[in-house]
Symmetry: C2
Subunit: 329 residues, 2 copies
């Protein structure tokens, strides 16, 4: 297995050429992203966009949170359930139940033990097994796993930057999502990872896997110990500040003890079901593109003027996949 594209070298060459022409400093990661050609961006299907509306703040600030659902092969049963729940308007009138500092914000209908009659979930929700927290993958990685370095590297058989990882044999990206994976003689599995802003499915004790009716998002350092223990179904692509800046709950695990502190959820809708004029539109930078490889390299080796010492590596959650709005808003 051969390294197809050594991002570091390519960037060094590109930078050298650039410097001769205009003597500009090396581009920052965001400059690399803003210069990416249109073809490197991939539109997000409105069937994979979910809009959660909270009441406006006292000063009139609107609060909308937009979530992108993950694609195959990951968590597809839960993703289907989320579409079903949104279309049944299950979350309308539900609440933000829990805000735990440096951990998660969790929302949904209150649990029965909170003293509220539970709202019935719609019919037809799928039931998943714990095996579906991860997805199988071809067992092709023997070479690169052994060679995986802190520096993001692109290999011939896996067209996205790959790095060593503290939690798995490697970390990388797949179709726009941060993932990790393990290799073995008879087992190769991959899974989406718990980075900041990723969304997972609340569950009870094993073997329960959750039906998707309570969701959470990460608002702190990546709690990667949750990987493979919970279904990851997507990420917040806009408005996470409306969740991450909420007052922390004072009960165990950050649950709000005082019910009046729970922010009500006005509505949760699939973007695909909204009128064309109101539909938010987003696109993400293809993680298989050369632009993304350059961006990942620049995140791992900051050369823009503020920095004096490039790190020489980065963890997968410190290379957030660029996502941007494409409508006027």
């Amino acid at each position: 297995m051969r390294i197809l594209f050594a991002a570091t070298c390519a960037l060094a060459l590109a930078t050298a050429a650039f410097a001769q022409e205009v003597e500009a400093p090396p581009p920052s990661p965001s400059e690399i992203v803003s210069l990416a050609p249109t073809d490197d961006w991939i539109a997000i299907d409105p069937e994979n966009l979910v809009v959660m509306t909270l009441p406006p703040l006292e000063d009139g600030t609107e609060r909308k949170v937009v979530m992108q659902l993950i694609g195959a092969p990951f968590s597809q049963g839960w993703v289907a359930n989320i579409r079903t729940l949104a279309r049944a308007k299950y979350w309308d009138g539900s609440q933000i139940l829990r805000v735990q500092d440096n951990y998660v914000v969790q929302w949904g209908q209150p649990d029965p033990e909170m003293g509220v009659e539970p709202k019935p979930v719609p019919e037809g929700l799928k039931v998943m097994t714990e095996g579906e927290y991860t997805a199988g993958s071809p067992n092709w990685l023997t070479g690169p796993v052994l060679q995986a370095k802190r520096q993001p590297q692109v290999f011939e058989d896996w067209p996205a930057p790959m790095m060593t990882d503290a939690y798995a044999d490697f970390a990388s990206f797949r179709d726009g999502w941060p993932i990790a994976g393990v290799q073995g003689m008879h087992l190769a599995r991959q899974w989406p990872v718990h980075c900041y802003g990723m969304v997972g499915v609340g569950r009870n004790m094993s073997p329960d896997t959750g039906d998707g009716s309570q969701l959470y998002t990460v608002i702190g350092h990546a709690p990667r110990h949750l990987d493979r223990n919970i279904a990851v179904v997507g990420r917040i692509v806009e408005g996470i500040e409306h969740l991450s800046s909420l007052p922390r709950g004072t009960g165990p695990l950050g649950f709000y003890e005082d019910e009046s502190k729970r922010v009500p959820i006005v509505s949760v809708r699939m973007a695909a079901d909204m009128p064309e004029s109101e539909r938010p539109r987003f696109e993400y930078l293809s993680t298989a593109s050369e632009s993304f490889a350059r961006y990942a390299d620049a995140r791992a080796n900051r050369r823009d003027p503020f920095f004096i010492q490039p790190a020489g590596g980065a963890d997968v959650c410190n290379i957030p996949v660029p996502v941007r709005r494409t409508d006027a808003e």
Copy 2:
């Protein structure tokens, strides 16, 4: 070099013995911490505790933020400046200037370009070089660096769990602080790392290194690319939620565009200068203790009942050093 204490094996043995007696599930990380003997806890010197008071919230909630300053050999010039600035009451009447989601909260006196006459800093502040972002260390690590694994391991010559790291040759802990380090033939350096809640010193472009008059704390995924580029001087040990839950600034880098949004800082005081009765008291779990090694192992391999798949590793910022109050509060 020999592995002194394989935390995994020790824990497995301890757990097996424990299980035979009471058939309890394996302890969670927090249970391990709560069972640590008194001798494993180290009191924090009040000369290393700084109390920042913000105005109470509208509902009367008090807002105090307590910072622990880092000890030698790290950042000692900046730490001395912070004591000088606190004792000169420099920060009284200053403001929270910047809240950037998944990044930092920054405070201090406004910059001149914000249109405010700058408050003069006290005399006698030290000036540091960029070389002081890191500290030298004996070049003893050739063995363990080659052997460093995802699993936290304790080596004979370094009495704290050591793991591989995406940003350095290894990550570990030193006198209660998360650190990382590089090895080389002629160069061995260590530095404190930018985990959630760590505090750093705002600076202008290189070669400026900052005087400590503007500080920031991390409120998102560890921005480890800042390591070795900025002085890390401590961590928030209580009250970070009063910073992390602030509204995000809407200007570039999360600066507040509307001056009225900046939360004023009532006072910043050294705990050592406060009356005995008001002084907060804290202690941290010795990172050289066997309790800490068991805790780190349990963070990397969650075996408590919720978990079905131990991660098999953890990054240094996902093993927060336990700190607790020891006064009645």
